[in-house]
Amino acid sequence: MRSNKGTWLLLSPGIIWITLFLVAPLIMMIYVSFWTQTTFSIKPDMTVVSWVNFFSSDTYFGALLRTIRIWFTVLMVTILVGFPVALYIGQFIKNKTLQTALLVTCVIPFWTSFLIRVLAWRPMLGKEGAINILLQKMGIINAPIEVLLYTELSVIIGMVQIYVVFMVGPIAFMIGRIDGSLIEGARDLGASTWTIFRRIILPLSMPGVIVGAIFVTVMVLGEFATASALSGRKVNLLGNIIITQVGSLKWAFAAVAGVVLTVVMATFVAIMLRIVNLRNQL
């Protein structure tokens, strides 16, 4: 009914905005990663020095490996923790109102500032923190557990708590959509609970897991705040590297770290999108 021209007219503000403020900055980042960096300035002479430095330095290449390791751990833990919760909300709660109420309960902590929520882990995990006090009072441990705070573990705990909801939501949505008669039918035909889980629930919830994995991946890979708040600056992720490089005006180097991060992320998301078509799931 509407002409093609009308469509593009409606689209133009969005397209212009995205081109100028999303595509152009990203292209600029790739471009600058090949510039020549001197101590205090940067010149647009093309070179791969920053790239070579990045991959030959233990600090920076180590940060890349650490980022990937922490990301993968957080991703696995969010799936392992999130799936049972989503299964409970999606399959075992039949009342729609209660289902929504439970999901809303999971989302409410998001209405607190992200940074303050991260900081609140410090009095939880510290040597004299809530968890250690509680465990000591209950007589489970004698001396406080010290690995809880200012370690990789605390960063992982913090990230799982913040991002696990992005896993629960999509999975619960997919599981909730499963037709109840499908499961009843399978049961009537003698399928065991395990078979029903493996043959019906698991495959049908897969798009949810993948969407959740994409959410968690892009958020964890771009993280730096949790690491700097809960590791006492001991755990440096690629995000932290970018922050410090920008702080010392090493633009080309920051850009290299940024491009590396983008490539890692894009590869994973592309693989995931091969498996599920995001647009059809809406």
């Binding site: 409606l10 999303l22 409970y88 992200f114 303050i116 809530a130 995000g239 850009a255 991060l261």
Partner: protein, 285 residues
């Protein structure tokens, strides 16, 4: 069947533990915000219950060695920025979703480009924007370079919400209005908009809260005048005090009141629509 029952119990307990895990820091924050001041630190045990840190947040506490949070200006900046972001991204989201109601060539590319805005990590976008601003020679300010990135971030949310609304939209209502000779602009105002209003409200809520709490994009691009999240991020390096927790509790309450306003507006609009629908029916019969 027994197996299913025990599975249900296991998952129920697991979910309860999960909720406790989600709320743990939240609860600790609430408790510690009532720590005694100014000597009491952000840790257990509570020396003495007091509202000292709340007074501290509002600048009512007697001066001490702990600097007050830069509430006034930073908060106003954050709220202004969130409001502007909300308006622009909601309008663009509605326009783009409206365009997507008809299939067109290149819709896939446009769809994923828009979604990219919410996916690309803030640090990367912030970095790219700074490099671009340096190159073009633009100053970095919260109302310019940071603002455009906030919109890039929230606009996809608004777009997706509106897309979902339009997917469940009965087009014949609009067609009826148009074929009766009502102009497209008036049709949008009188017919389309009231139907999509709940979606618009949700998009606004999303955009506002996301922008208000946004900081990786603002960190590089915000310039020297800090917004509230950047001010909080600044405290990461130094010692933290319970005034942050008191502020956290207050800002959570503020968010809840926003949520309440959203709920009230939504209920009102649905009720009004029902009333109008029944009124129409009475007119016909």
């Amino acid at each position: 069947m027994d197996k299913v029952v025990s599975l249900r119990w296991f998952l129920g307990i697991f979910t309860a533990a999960f909720v406790l895990f989600l709320y743990g820091p939240f609860i600790v924050m609430g408790i510690l915000s009532f720590q005694q001041g100014p000597e009491g630190g952000p840790q257990f045990p509570i020396i003495e219950w007091s509202t000292y840190w709340y007074q501290h947040v509002f600048g009512l506490a007697p001066p001490s060695r702990i600097a007050p949070l830069p509430i006034g200006e930073a908060l106003i900046r954050s709220l202004t920025l969130a409001f502007a972001t909300m308006v622009v991204s909601t309008v663009m989201g509605v326009l783009t979703a409206q365009a997507f109601r008809q299939p067109f060539r290149g819709s896939g590319v446009v769809f994923y480009s828009v979604i990219l805005g919410m996916i690309v990590p803030g640090v990367l976008l912030g970095l790219g924007m700074v490099l671009l601003a340096n190159q073009v020679g633009i100053d970095r300010n919260w109302w310019s370079t940071a603002f455009v990135l906030h919109v890039v971030y929230t606009y996809p949310f608004a777009f997706l919400v509106m897309l979902a609304i339009f997917n469940r939209f009965d087009e014949s209502v609009e067609e009826a209005s148009l074929s009766l000779g009502v102009s497209p602009a008036k049709t949008f105002r009188k017919v389309t908009f009231p139907i999509i209003f709940p979606g618009v409200l949700s998009a606004m809520l999303f955009a506002f809260t996301l922008s208000y709490d946004e900081f990786p994009r603002t960190l590089f691009t915000g310039g020297s005048d800090v917004t509230m999240p950047i001010a909080i991020y600044g405290t990461f390096a130094v010692e933290i005090h319970p005034n942050l927790f008191a502020f956290g509790v207050l800002s959570t309450l503020f968010s809840f009141s926003l949520l309440a306003v959203y709920g009230i507006l939504l209920t009102l609009s649905i009720r009004r629509q029902n009333q109008r629908a029944s009124g129409l029916q009475e007119d016909i019969t």
